[in-house]
Symmetry: C2
Subunit: 424 residues, 2 copies
């Protein structure tokens, strides 16, 4: 890890810079695959599954007997943990339901918003060594609460053509309608355009490698909405001398083990804490199975000493971390001054792991400084708010003349006329 | 206008299809201009202002004396109308403020969301024959309510280097911090990257021609968030035999006058109404100053007769119009079944013009069927919801074991360890 003492404010920008995702080289590969999926549907999907996932599939959709089998295969301890996480995620997201309020802006002019679930959503869950059933819970649970009518999920099968049982179990618990054994760019294409087997959806959610990221970007330009732009995961820990260095080190390491491009940053007012954390990271790292990944990530990670808490807060807001852990004496006061972050964890007993899995908050969050403009996934991500207005004859008499003036000054006479005919 | 009687359901798709925006030819032009703005800042901005807006500017920012002059130039009637619109827009959007609720998902596990305004936003207001001061109100008013700290606005100057006084007046009324005389792609680039004069913003809002649309798309891939994808404006009127054909015709025409690519559609259960509207459109069209534009738009517009109200509602939801006017006997009942639309206008006295200008709802709405996945601009567009969690020692004992199980099953041992060290 790199230690930096008292960086000058004009150095912050370069100090906090993320490595840019280079995607120019793969744009064409991705668009060629997408085009084939659009033109040839299932036939192209099956071809790319054979090419990339090394599996010949006869049907793409997971069958009900595969769901039943999965339910038997997942052990009881994991099932109970999944159910607990699902319950807390449900509690937190159900509390986000939007309640319509009718607003009378002038007598006879009533306006309101109504929240409606996006009718068809598609979730992408990547394959790889670990089955990301937690992401299934984080995306499908709010989709179901929002009232999305079709919640489909694509995930690559293994070489035996199977999906990990914990993914199937989590999907069933959280209300996924159908699962398709499709990975990568072909999954994004199938959900964006629809195929014989896969319905076209209106919005696509979920993480993925750089190919999936680019595919989501490309389809989002014309065909479908996406959750948010993607980037490597990251954490900032904001701590003073009262923080527990063992806890802080464990939090930095849980970020570092995600991938070699993960970022973990400590911003602290205490030199002593900084030194203790540095030593503790080295100690804990030794015991990790994913030591090599974490070690590589730590090479670009930083321990930064700043002169006081105000500077620490300013730097944190400038960085706009995906995850922010605040381990300081008056953490509530500090939290009140945070304006740019995805999800914030307060005090000594709120590790990022809690929000990653089971406290109830969502773990799909804006990375790469996008927290300055984007929120993480929440119930809002699965709904639209439609506005309504009901104007009475009296109401249009009240606001009609002003509308006529405004329309005339924008040279839109038909707009003015739509009022005039109603005032006769 | 084209009249279509009882189209079969499998024909709806092609019947309701929008014309696709062709942007391939201008992608390179746009990216070349953006690159020059990024590399050369103000120098390039000034160059493109001379090239495209035919004006040599010495400074880009509108001065306070220009604001003072504008205030004198706008006549009192228009000022009063702008103030009325601003008041109603404020009332409706202020009522959308998000209130934090703390949720205890398990004993000792407390989670909440906090809404924070996006610190820096940029608004784009196109030039052209009409000064779009209404769009200034629609974008700046919620930005100010959201607590955005910097609200900047770019708009092209005329050949004398001036901005229309009504735009300056509306901007001042609604809390814009600074205005820059910059149009087109160079405006989008200046706000996305920042220049010596123009601060970099985090999110860009506002309409524009196809160059502006493509520029917003390009910068949204890496540098900045945008309000929503753009497309030509459109209205659907859903009406039965009780509707007033004069009103319906006036609404279709106010859409048609926007531009030759605007869409206006009538979906009705009454053949008599359809015929009356058809005749009335011809009659009203004759009196419009923008007759030629409207006539061209009407060539691709449609009057559709369907067999009953249920079919009318299904077709409307399939179309997902930006604006929907419901003029039927039981319009509240019909409104309850609308799931895809941007903004809905109910009854005989709620013309689209009301929402375009002054009733209080926003007029920046999803076109092109995007209403299936996107909401219109609202207070939400200018904030982020940051999640927070505070877990006590007791709380982590409650949920810690489940998190350990979940993390271990995803092979993320450092995540598990962040719990283990806190349970010791």
């Amino acid at each position: 890890m790199n230690t930096i003492y008292y960086p000058a404010e004009n150095e912050w920008n370069s100090l906090l810079k993320r490595s840019a995702l280079k995607t120019d080289a793969i744009q064409e590969t991705v668009s060629s695959i997408l085009k084939q999926i659009k033109d040839e549907g299932d036939k192209a999907v099956l071809k790319f599954e054979e090419l990339f996932d090394k599996v010949q599939l006869s049907t793409l959709q997971v069958s009900s007997s595969e769901f039943e089998e999965a339910e038997k295969e997942v052990d009881e301890e994991l099932k109970a943990a999944i159910l607990l996480a699902h319950r807390n995620i449900t509690t937190f997201h159900a509390a986000q339901k939007f309640e319509t309020k009718k607003i009378t802006t002038q007598p006879g002019v009533t306006c309101w918003q109504k929240a409606v679930g996006i009718e068809k959503v598609g979730l992408y869950i990547p394959g790889g060594t670990a089955p990301l059933f937690s992401t299934v819970l984080m995306l499908a649970t709010p989709a179901q609460i929002a009232g999305c009518k079709e919640i489909i999920l694509c995930t690559p099968p293994n070489r035996e053509g199977k999906v990990h049982p914990a993914i199937l179990y989590a999907a069933q618990v959280s209300g996924v309608s159908r699962i398709y054994k499709i990975g990568g760019v072909q999954a994004i294409g199938a959900m964006a355009y629809g195929t014989e087997s896969v319905p076209k959806v209106y919005k696509i959610f979920g993480p993925g490698n750089q190919y999936v990221t680019v595919a989501k970007q490309q389809v989002s330009l014309h065909d479908v909405a996406i959750d948010m732009p993607a980037g490597p995961s990251e954490v900032a820990v904001l701590a003073d001398g009262t923080a527990n260095p063992v806890f802080v080190a464990s939090d930095l390491l849980s970020q570092a083990e995600h991938g070699t491009d993960s970022q973990a940053i400590l911003i602290t007012t205490s030199e002593e804490l900084l030194k203790q954390v540095e030593a503790e990271v080295v100690r804990q790292l030794e015991e990790l199975p994913r030591k090599e990944i974490a070690q590589k990530a730590l090479e670009s990670s930083k321990l930064i000493l700043v002169k006081d808490m105000q500077e620490a807060i300013r730097m944190t807001n400038e960085y706009a971390p995906e995850h922010l852990i605040i381990e300081t004496e008056n953490y509530m006061e500090v939290a009140g001054q945070i304006v740019n972050a995805g999800s914030v964890f307060l005090g000594s007993y709120s590790p990022e792991s809690a929000g990653d899995y089971a406290s109830g908050t969502n773990h799909t969050l804006p990375t790469n400084g996008y927290a300055k403009a984007y929120s993480g996934v929440s119930l809002d991500s699965f709904i639209r708010k439609i506005t309504f207005q009901e104007i009475t004859r009296e109401g249009i008499r009240q606001i009609g003349p002003a509308i006529q003036t405004l329309a005339a000054n924008e040279h839109l006479d038909a707009h003015k006329n739509a009022i005039t005919v109603r005032l006769l």
